[in-house]
């Protein structure tokens, strides 16, 4: 079971955002996608999840084409995602944010849920149990009845990941999960994501926080100007002169990357505070 990109391309008019990217992602691993701003990292995630259309090439999971499906069908094939700017169902409770993910599985029983109370109670109880279990994994059980929009920023990030995980996805796409988190929260996130490394799950993380990427990811893809520049283990990526040149320009210092990441965090942090 693998996720594959075959000569994947995304074009906006004359601008080529993704340029013939071919890659495959094996299950059981956490894949990191890094690269300078505008390299096309988020575009990859958005195309995989069906948020953006594909200009040419294909995306397949187990040989089954994903790029021809609608967004909700892709989700129902087991692809779950989070967003660069958190997108929760703000006025619903934390618990409901997770419960609603069982819609594809349970919608067929709606009529019975409406007319037959014991069935509805059993269904609701089963959904609640699964959701609470996931919430506990992210230490959010105390917030279950709170409105999602009222949570602190860091908790909202965790909740969005919990929502992506509640239905046991085969592919988990995380778009800058550490953006706007402080050091402590990033460490917590790293630990929780490490615990979600299942043998049959493909996890792809787009992230600027190099500490997180280097410590968590097994395989790293480096994007540059929409092209796949390099693929390898964290150690190989750090040692690669190509990557250093692309990423850092002339300076060969990983500290610059860290500084860039810090900047990015600060930027998003400001936006986050304004939001809450």
């Amino acid at each position: 079971m693998t996720l594959t990109f075959d000569r994947l391309r995304k074009q906006y008019g004359q601008v080529v955002a993704i340029d013939d990217v071919t890659a495959s992602f094996a299950p059981g691993l956490i894949h990191g996608v890094i690269g300078p701003n505008g390299a096309g990292k988020s575009t990859l995630i958005n195309m995989t999840a069906g948020s953006y259309s594909v200009s040419a090439g294909s995306i397949a999971l187990d040989g089954k084409r994903l790029d021809t499906l609608k967004k909700y069908q892709i989700a129902n094939s087991g692809v779950a995602r989070t967003y660069q700017n958190i997108r929760l169902f703000d006025q619903m409770t934390v618990l409901e944010n997770l419960e609603v993910c069982f819609y594809p599985a349970d919608v067929g029983g709606t009529l019975k849920e409406v007319t037959w109370p014991p069935y509805a109670a059993a269904r609701r109880e089963r959904r609640r149990e699964k959701c609470m279990e996931t919430l506990r994994l992210f230490d959010l059980q105390g917030y279950a009845q709170a409105e999602a929009g009222s949570l602190p920023y860091g908790r909202q990030r965790m909740l969005e990941i919990a929502r992506a995980l509640v239905c046991d996805p085969r592919v988990l796409l995380l778009d800058e999960p550490a953006a706007g988190l402080n050091h402590h929260e990033t460490a917590e996130l790293t630990a929780r994501l490490a615990a979600q490394r299942l043998p049959d799950r493909i996890t792809i993380i787009v992230e600027h926080d190099m500490d997180l990427v280097m410590s968590l990811c097994d395989n790293i893809i480096v994007m540059h100007h929409g092209k796949l520049l390099f693929q390898g283990t964290p150690a190989e990526v750090q040692a690669s002169p190509d990557v250093q040149l692309a990423y850092l320009g002339t300076a060969n210092d990983i500290d610059d990357i860290r500084a860039a990441a810090q900047d990015r965090r600060a930027q998003l942090g400001i936006r986050a505070r304004r939001r809450s």
Binding site: K71, D90, P104, V107, V114, R127
Partner: protein, 331 residues
């Protein structure tokens, strides 16, 4: 104990008292209705019809977050179903329950027919298109003289009877409407709490994220339009049977707007709120009857006052029927 703590401690008790008060008034009203003069029974009947309409429209507006200004079209579909199938107009005299079933199905079909073209629209654009749809239905009815009698409407509708029991006096319709409101209200409330109801809420909050968790938003929205229209159409059929006369005048844009107002004033997305909103907007004009043309002004002032004081409506979304029941009978 600080002031804040005292207030916090007192709140549930006063909430409970208010809940009890309103519950008692509702029960007293139901018990007293059979002894009221026909005029008042008719007022209460039209209140119940508006509650029914509000419950229907609230599915689209309150649950799925789609502003529909053409709801009255479905009300008209139901009313004209009864008028055509139980009157000398086409010389058809079908039984009431059968017509109710036909009206419900026709309502669902028109709901889906309206739903399909507006699926991609939201907010203001959706409001304008649905508004147009409501007007189109009214204008068609107004001009299809050979079928609908045009502006003259259709008169001498059959007296309704359910399984041999005649439903003709206002008080009969009171019981029919009360039962319908209770049954429909309960079902819709259960629908709100079902997985489909949750999906509607998700679509309301963030349609794109809803697709991202696997919700087929097309189907979910069409389900909302269909259920909502079905209820509107049922209300229309009962309305026609109780008036025994229909004309296009009953289905103007103003009616749609009035129902939207009831929802907004009462508490969007909450069945209890609709009951409150409909009661205020229906009974106030009656209470202010002596002031004649000043009524609209009073109504306007009240609206402004309510919107300032309670922007989320009289009964907020969070205070649903389950909370009320818990307040009344629970811990």
């Amino acid at each position: 104990m600080s002031v804040a703590e005292t207030l916090a401690a007192a709140k549930p008790r006063s909430g409970r008292a208010i809940s009890f008060l309103f519950f008692a008034i509702a029960i007293a009203l139901i018990v007293a209705t059979p002894f009221l003069p026909n005029y008042y029974v008719r007022v209460i009947n039209s209140l119940l019809i508006y509650i029914l309409l509000g419950i229907g429209l609230n599915i689209v507006i309150g649950y799925a977050g789609l502003l529909d200004l053409g709801f009255v079209a479905f009300y008209a579909v139901g009313a004209y179903s009864y008028a055509l199938l139980a009157s000398p107009q086409l010389d058809l005299h079908w039984p009431f329950l059968l017509i109710l079933l036909v009206a419900a199905c026709l309502g669902a079909v028109t709901g889906i027919l309206l739903g399909i073209p507006v699926l991609r629209l939201r907010g203001d654009y959706l409001a304008i298109v649905t508004l147009g749809f409501g007007e189109i239905i009214r204008i068609i009815i107004n001009n299809l003289d050979w079928l609908t009698g045009g502006p003259k409407g259709i008169a001498r509708l059959d007296k309704a009877s359910i399984l041999g029991i005649q439903v003709a006096r206002p008080i009969d319709f009171f019981w029919l409407l009360l039962i319908t409101v209770l049954v429909v209200g309960t079902l819709v409330w259960r629908l709100e709490r079902s997985i489909l109801g949750k999906a509607w809420a998700a679509i309301r909050e963030d349609q794109d994220a809803a697709r991202g968790i696997g919700i087929n938003t097309t189907n979910a929205k069409l389900a909302a339009f269909a259920t909502s229209a079905t209820i509107g159409s049922i209300a229309g059929a009962i309305f026609a049977a109780s008036q025994r006369f229909v004309s296009p005048e009953s289905f103007t844009l103003q009616e749609s707007v009035l129902i939207v107002l009831m929802i907004v004033v009462g508490g969007i997305g909450n069945i209890l709120g609709i009951v409150a909103g409909a009661t205020i907007l229906m009974l106030l004009p009656e209470v202010l009857r002596e002031f004649a043309e000043w009524r609209i002004l009073f109504l306007g002032l009240l609206m402004i006052f309510l919107i300032i004081v309670r922007p989320a409506g009289i009964v907020p979304r969070s205070f649903g029927p389950d909370k009320l029941i818990r307040r009344l009978f629970g811990k």
